[in-house]
Symmetry: C5
Subunit: 355 residues, 5 copies
């Protein structure tokens, strides 16, 4: 965190045209993959040099260039120059801490959103910024790291699914965003399962670490909320945009579909948040009820002994003349009285349902 | 849940044109019922083969095709082909976890909403997705399972009620949605009765399982809220739509009626939610007040014994010279003092209303 | 409640054109009163047969027909036929559980709102549905029961107040709604007085039944809120409507007036709700502070006795050689020590302000 | 309150044209002050008879008529007649319990707002209704009582400040409303100072009366909120109005200024409300922490004595053969054990930081 | 505070055209710095006399005049006269307690916002009002004190960064506001780090001063919220303004960028606020759980001694005939019973997990 703050400080007042990658630095080389397809052809390749992209510049096919890694700002600049992108777009691509947004430019449409992935092994949630630059026959996607959620889309292209291979970049953009949001929903459902399991456990046995687990889940749910909210705004804006790069007749149904999905996601998040708040309350109630039961039991227990201890105390006094002491069976009579008193009290308390 | 998550995962990135039923699988055959009616004729039949539908293709009557069961995706595809429906519609019909919505297409109007039914025997609330495809002279309704809430509408058609038999598919769609919402309201009133009964019990005797029951009702109310909210948006959108399949002059009054009903339902839900929150607070207060009363009583009880036990302790000491011990009636005087002290304390505490 | 639910169930899916009175059934005959007035004439009568209404069909005067009782659906049908009202209007008139609303029809303007009255004797709040059908020279008002809040309006007509007798049905409708809302405000002020009285009592002596009274008032305030909210929407819609039955020049000031009044009512309700919530908190705080004071006092009291009881216990041991026991004034010295310890502790606790 | 309710009841259904002063009745005569000014002249007078106003009817100067006192409805009627005001305006002037509002009429602009003043001596907050009737060259302001906040505006006129004497009634109205809102902000700052002082005290010593003081401040803040809210709506409406009596070029900047000020006031109020809520929580926490510390101390204290009292009890038994009793230094050994046990426990508790 | 209130009071009703500096008074002379630049030239100077500004009046370059200090109202008046600024602008410049806003004038665009700086040494947050007056080729910025956050912008000009030196005053204004908002975000990240550190500490050891620190952070977060909110409104208004001083083609992307940034800032603030509220709850829970554990332990401890003390009490009675006392090993048997009872109870309590 401290390093992150120092970085933030050093960037105050920097020109918005500065290309500086604000994310985690790696020395891995940037990976550039190209899929070039239309109804009749399919080419897939990994570029070694960026200049190879020129081989895909034709207006018959749709070309999807996927750039994994943002640590090479020269490359980004080069891409900008080749495709004549506004400097602000490049700067936005590098600025991975920005809010999800969509922005129209003369030469293209720029969209960014957070890509959230669940690492199935560690159960960790990874987040990285995804930028899409939508041109006429070309879509460039920028990610921070290798490893993405787009394999299903690549499969659909490879399998020559009719819709995707007969559409343009707008449909490809939709397909990519659709996967991103599907992942949101999938992660939410995983969190949801944890929440429901916890809820079952909670009623059975509210151990102390439960509070911490509720608290952790709450934080993860907040994290999701914070990212899904702006994503939804972006999708809504996307659906309303009137741009040459979006063919309304062809994709408006899909944007509405996405909007419904992400709205559902937000409602789900809010539902989980309420559940967690309720669980916290139930936890507190259960714990305090348990404590109260213990305290009540112990108090009742003590109270039963108080008068009988007093009785014993009375006959421990050293007065010269205490008639009861001299009775033959005085001691046993005392025991009788003690048992009577104790029994009476217990009966009374039981009757009152005090323990 | 785990299976549901696995399924979700497997569907990430799937094409939106994929027809896959995401609900509970059954091996029951799909049931297709047709009611074909106008002012002069009424035909009702169960189709064995889908091709029989061709017998109802005329422009004089309104045909309502009700499909119960979504496990046969081939059938759905066939329906789509026969009536020339957009592939997205078919995909939406199959996607039973979607939000309530209405979508205009060139060839039809598509609407979906959750159908909620109360099983009168088990008191369980069942939910399934209902899709309506509204064409010019044909309305197709898709449900997940056999058993629906539409019997009253069928009855109205059979009894040749003038309004319904002289209207088109838009009025039929309204009538179906009206029943769906009537069921929401009915279920709410059943929940409401349970809440009010619980409230009465609560004041009389706040036993522990009450908390669980309040909590259960809260969950059911949240469940209703989550489904009625999108339904309301859908109804509002329906009222605003400007489509050839909706005859405004004829049905706008009805859509307003539906809007009022569902708004009322939402206000009712919110009212119940507030009541349940209040009840939870009252429960806590009552429980803690009861506990406090017990603890106060027990404490006062103990406190009365403390000084008199001390007095007895004093005369249990073995000093060689304790004058009181030698008084003839020392023992009885001690008893007198003890009773005085105890009586004084009890009087004082009673006066202070401490028990 | 159970009967109400059964009724609800039986009506699921009923045609919206069905005329069925959903309120409390009575066998009382329906009361029809007519006031017919203009600048020059004033006729007031109770109709025995509905046909008598024909005597008031002229375009020179304003006719106000007030129907008390909805149990005679034939009569309602007859009224509908005579004045050529849409069947939906009649259905709405009968459906007394609907939300306040205003609806334009070609032949008339339909408005409904809840009429809330305070029974001055029993202090009970009665609610019934009021429907207004506004035609050109005729206003029909439907109520569920005899007894309304309109006497002041009738008086104004009888006393020939210039504004009312020179205006049309729109002003009459305004006057009626104005009384309804004045009653809301009056009932709120009565509840407000109870709340303020309770608040004064609360600070003085928070007895247990106070919680129940706060809770009851809260429910009544919620009840008012639930009815005033839709009424406000209705009044706002009324002010915006562009209908031939509302003369804008003449009444727009009045609708604004009504809007201000009902907005004030809502703000008042919300203010009271906050006050009640605050009072609940103050109640809890006061009660728990009182309890804590008692417990602290009792604990301090006990604690003072603990060491001195221990001292007495020491000298109750039977060791063969305990020097203090043999001192001549050992017993008195012990008393001295005991008093010193007790006094010291009391001083310390007082100093610490622990009791 | 009771009288106020009775009055409310008596007014239900009264015609909106009725002129009845609903505020506090006084027998003081109404005070009418006139300031008549323009760039070249300045006349200031107190009218004895209303007819004297005719001396100020010219179109060269701006005339400000300030009426203090509303108990003379005849006078108000007379004013209405002389300046040809709509009867509704007069009725609104008299109805001092109305919400802040602005209403356009053909002949004038009517605005009302609550004027809140702090009595510097008693620290009481006084509220009265202020109505402004803005005509072409005349502004009439109505107040309920003598004593207002407008002296600074009068001073500015007397001192011939260029802007005010060269503007029309719209600027005068702005100046008056500006003072009213300046007073809101001033009173808020006084309340704010009290809140901040209380906050400092709270951390030092949370005595019991603090709760009451927080509660009182909360009520005053709510009172301010309830009045500033509608005032803001009024100012916003004023800024949007398109009336011949408001010269947009000249005053739009000022209305925006007022809007900013009153928005700031509302944000301040909301900030104070949050602070008070936080303070209430801090009070509760501090009080309960203090109590808990006391109880913990006392409990630990008691617990230390429990085992040593038991030890003494053991040696108070009268068994014939108890070896320890016969040891020469048995008694001192017992003391040693007792001190050891007590010391050990104290050390343990200290170590655990239990007191 | 008291002095501030007195000042507020003295200013009630003052003309909005009054130029009075309402901030902290200093006797430091006002500092006037000029940067005059375009693609070809760069001049930077500190003005001794204001008249020197005339040397920069040309239409080829952009001139940025930065005025540090507002205590010299004559200077402000002079600036107003030279650049023909509306008196309201000057008044707004002086009124440093106003809300962030943007206001269009014929001759210029006026914007104000709070400039918040973190003093890196004292960790104090300083706030001052920043006013920007945007003219055609001139931007005047007014600050209350020396020391600002604009050094990075000056650096960019000095380094002849292409975008800034080839743009007009609108881009300069954007650059300045961008730095201001970057500082908001930086300060938020510093607060965020403190919050996260506190959260870690909280779980480890909830000492008492933590409550105060949470409370302090909450206040600082509220402070930021109160300033960022209006700033966001201002930025949004800025983006929508249609003024000759803002070149839409050139800067609209930047305003959108700023809007995204400040929206992100607000979401961050709200996230922190929720975190602090959660932390407060966790603090309370942890503290009360700890207390409860202590009390439970102590109570269990006491309860174990109660029956065994009673047993000892029994054999301390002085009955003439108590058989057990005469048994040879009676005393040891008693010890055995005591240990058995105590051991049994401890086992039972352990089993029940009561301590």
């Amino acid at each position: 965190m401290a390093r992150f703050i120092a970085k933030l400080k050093s960037e105050i007042g920097e020109s918005p045209y500065e290309l500086r990658y604000r994310g985690r630095q790696t020395s891995e080389p940037v990976l550039m993959r190209v899929i070039d397809y239309n109804k009749n052809s399919l080419k897939e390749a990994t570029l070694k040099e960026f200049v190879e992209i020129n081989g895909y510049k034709n207006t018959e096919t749709v070309t999807w260039l996927n750039v994994d890694g943002l640590n090479d700002s020269d490359l980004v600049k080069q891409i900008g120059e080749v495709f004549k992108l506004d400097r602000m777009i490049l700067s936005d691509v590098m600025n991975v801490s920005s809010r999800a947004k969509v922005q129209e430019y003369e030469e293209c449409l720029y969209a960014s959103v957070k890509m959230i992935q669940l690492n199935e092994d560690t159960k960790e949630i990874n987040i990285e910024n995804l930028s899409l630059v939508i041109l006429n026959r070309l879509l460039i996607s920028f990610q921070e790291r290798k490893g993405d959620v787009f394999e299903p889309v690549r499969e659909r292209i490879r399998k020559q699914k009719p819709k995707i291979i007969s559409s343009k970049t707008d449909y490809l953009a939709f397909a990519l965003l659709d996967v991103v949001i599907d992942n949101y929903i999938y992660i939410l459902s995983v969190l949801g399962e944890q929440i429901e399991n916890l809820e079952d456990e909670l009623i059975e046995d509210p151990s102390r670490d439960m509070l911490e687990r509720i608290s952790d889940l709450k934080r993860e749910i907040s994290f999701m909320r914070r990212n899904i909210g702006p994503a939804r705004e972006m999708i809504l804006a996307m659906g309303k945009i009137d741009s040459e790069f979006i063919d309304d007749d062809n994709t408006s149904v899909h944007w509405r579909e996405l909007q419904d999905n992400i709205t559902l996601a937000i409602e789900t998040v809010d539902g989980y948040r309420d559940m967690l708040t309720d669980m916290m309350n139930i936890y507190h109630t259960t714990v305090s009820t348990k404590l109260n039961d213990v305290m009540k039991f112990l108090t009742v227990f003590s109270v039963v002994f108080i008068p009988i201890t007093f009785i014993a105390g009375i006959y421990g006094t050293n007065f010269e003349y205490i008639p009861e002491l001299r009775y033959e069976n005085g001691y046993f009579v005392m025991w009788g009285v003690i048992l009577l008193v104790a029994g009476g009290m217990i009966t009374y308390f039981k009757m009152k349902k005090w323990f």
